[in-house]
């Protein structure tokens, strides 16, 4: 809300100052309004909140949230099926909970194409969750593409860490 007021105030100030440029004394000169008037906006964030211990206790399988993918592959590997199944069961038993799946890629190639590849990974996890009982409206799959690397290194080990889907519950996103 505060942000809105500041933005509105700024817009008002700009409008007030940039009204009719003074052309008096010019020989029929066209007026140019280039170059000026870029006002800075600061984007807001999202607050987290408390989750039940079963989702955060390191001893609970549900505290594990990441699914790793092979290079150029978009299927959930067998070793992650137990994890995804556990989250599907939690969502089935806890209909009030919602999940955001964020797909990620390594940073080689086009940012937008990588965004689409990350979406494929997030969609693969979502499909498995819904097949196992999570409701469509409980799960949203999105992509962060190459924008939020877990490991910024430029080697196979770093890239492998970034080929990943993360499952977040409401309050965590």
């Amino acid at each position: 809300m505060k942000q809105l007021i500041i933005t509105a105030l700024f817009a008002f100030l700009i409008a007030g100052c940039s009204s009719t440029p003074d052309t008096s004394g010019q020989d029929g000169a066209p007026v140019e309004t280039r170059g000026g008037g870029v006002s800075t906006v600061t984007a807001g964030g999202v607050d987290g909140s408390r989750l039940p211990a079963i989702l955060t206790d390191p001893k609970s399988i549900l505290s594990k949230r990441s699914v790793y993918f092979d290079y150029d592959k978009y299927e959930v590997r067998d070793e992650y099926k137990e994890l995804v199944t556990a989250h599907a069961k939690f969502l089935l038993d806890n209909r009030k909970f919602k999940m955001l799946i964020q797909g990620n890629t390594d940073d080689r190639g086009s940012r937008e194409y990588n965004l689409a590849l990350g979406q494929k990974r997030a969609d693969a996890i979502k499909k498995m969750l819904t097949l196992l009982g999570a409701r469509e409206e409980q799960v949203e799959s999105v992509s962060l593409g190459e924008e939020k690397p877990k490991n910024e290194g430029q080697n196979e080990a770093a890239w492998a860490e970034n080929r990943r889907g993360d499952m977040l519950y409401n309050g965590e996103f």
Binding site: S18, E32, G37, V41, R108, R111, E147
Partner: protein, 430 residues
């Protein structure tokens, strides 16, 4: 305006508004480094402008560096000659110095507290005036007046509009959780932050009138498409559907955007009105369809798709129908951008494991690789079609590079200790 400008003879005036006073300066300015030059550079002399020494020196330097940076002119030494737009040039002397063209001018008070810069351009061999112009500017906008003068000189001598008075947008990653969308003059100066965020910002694209930017922001932990009015800072959410929203592209009339949405499964191209209404699906193939770009006539959309097994560029009518495959060489061709005249396409192609800027002549399908770098991304044409701005990486750091369409001239724009990416060259401004 541009056409009128060519028709007008003698002096005319353009006034600049004083909007510049409200600018929020960004901390770090882009610095430009030029590598390579055109094959046949025009020998051009810019005499030191007359008037207040400090002001005229600053103005002369903007004009000279603009023209030199283009790679199309060889600047001839003009030291020791004092002249203005009203001095008759000593053609023989300038010829001896090797100049084919000469510009001379002055700057002085316009009578209303602003400055007026006047100049005249001469053809040394024909011993004739090529015309001139005058620009009135408030002191903070003097650089802009210099860019306008450089544009006039460029257009008269090259025969196509100059882009020195245009602006560019780009994203600076200023820290682990600091992203800023900057707007700067085409020479990297006068940078201002339009958006600061803790989350990534990608894919900025200018509206055809240069007043707005569409981009993708991750500030809500997922990609959402915004349209941002630069003067007011007002932002409109254009696409925030369930799933990912990305890859905005303006229609040439500025009324619509093509966007990529995953709301119906997969990544598919939709069109949406610039206010977020009227969403319509365009592509229906399985797999990925992304990076839409309108042809200049607005009738077709070029895009990247993996429908054939590897990412390749396709073209489709905006009315739907079968898509036509455009790229065939290599296993990774992405990020299509069509030149303003519609004749060529810039894109990124993976060659010998490097991601490189390529240009295709759309009629002959001939492809030329323009760089030998490894991480080229996000090409965007200058509005006169002469240069292509890309993001690339040098020493692990993101920099911008402007490459001429023949690959001969390269300008590198970087911020000391900053990571610069996602450039977009803005349109001509009136």
């Amino acid at each position: 305006m541009r056409l009128t400008l060519l028709k007008l003879r003698g002096l005319f005036l353009i006034a600049f508004s004083a909007l510049a006073l409200l600018q929020v300066p960004a901390r770090a300015e882009l610095t430009i480094e030029i590598t390579g030059a055109g094959a046949n550079r025009i020998p051009l002399a810019i005499a030191d402008f007359g008037g207040d020494p400090a002001t005229s020196r600053a103005l002369t330097s903007v004009i000279r560096s603009d023209l030199e940076r283009s790679g199309l002119f060889k600047l001839i030494d003009s030291s020791g000659i004092a002249m203005t737009e009203s001095t008759s040039p000593a053609y023989g002397d300038w010829k001896n110095r090797g100049a084919d063209a000469l510009a001379a001018g002055s700057i002085g008070a316009s009578g209303d507290g602003r400055q007026e810069a006047r100049f005249r351009l001469y053809d040394i061999n024909k011993q004739s005036s090529l015309g001139g112009a005058a620009f009135v500017a408030s002191t903070p906008m003097l650089r802009a007046a210099g860019h306008r003068i450089a544009d006039v000189i460029y257009e008269k001598l090259i025969g196509e509009p100059g882009v020195f008075a245009t602006r560019i947008a780009y994203v600076v990653k200023a820290g682990a959780n600091r992203y800023e969308l900057h707007i700067a003059d085409a020479d990297g100066q006068n940078a201002q932050a339009a958006l600061k965020s803790k989350e990534p910002i990608i894919s900025p694209v200018w509206s055809p009138d240069g007043s707005r930017l569409a981009y993708v922001s991750f500030e809500n932990k997922k990609p959402v498409v915004y349209v941002h009015s630069l003067a007011s800072g007002q932002r409109i959410v254009v696409a925030n559907f369930k799933g990912s929203n990305s890859a905005p592209a303006w229609s040439p009339d500025g009324r619509k955007l093509a966007v990529v949405l995953s709301k119906e499964g997969g990544s598919q191209i939709f069109t949406v009105n610039a206010d977020g209404s009227g969403v319509q699906r365009l592509t229906t193939s399985s797999g990925i369809n992304t990076e839409p770009f309108f042809s200049p006539d607005g009738q077709s959309i070029y895009f990247t798709s993996d429908r054939g097994g590897s990412p390749q560029i396709y073209r489709s009518s905006i009315n739907g129908g079968d898509a036509q495959r455009i790229t065939f060489e290599g296993s990774y061709n992405v990020s299509p951008r069509i030149s303003p005249d519609g004749k060529s396409m810039a894109f990124i192609s993976r060659r010998e494991s490097g991601f490189r800027l390529a240009v295709m002549d759309l009629a002959s399908k001939q492809v030329q690789i323009l760089t030998d770098s490894n991480k080229d991304e996000s090409p965007s044409f200058a509005p006169n079609g002469r240069m292509i701005l890309i993001a690339t990486e040098i020493g692990g750091r993101g920099v911008l590079s402007a490459v001429s369409i023949d690959g001969r001239i390269k300008q590198r724009l970087s911020i000391p200790a900053g990571d610069v990416r996602e450039p977009a060259w803005g349109p001509f401004t009136r």
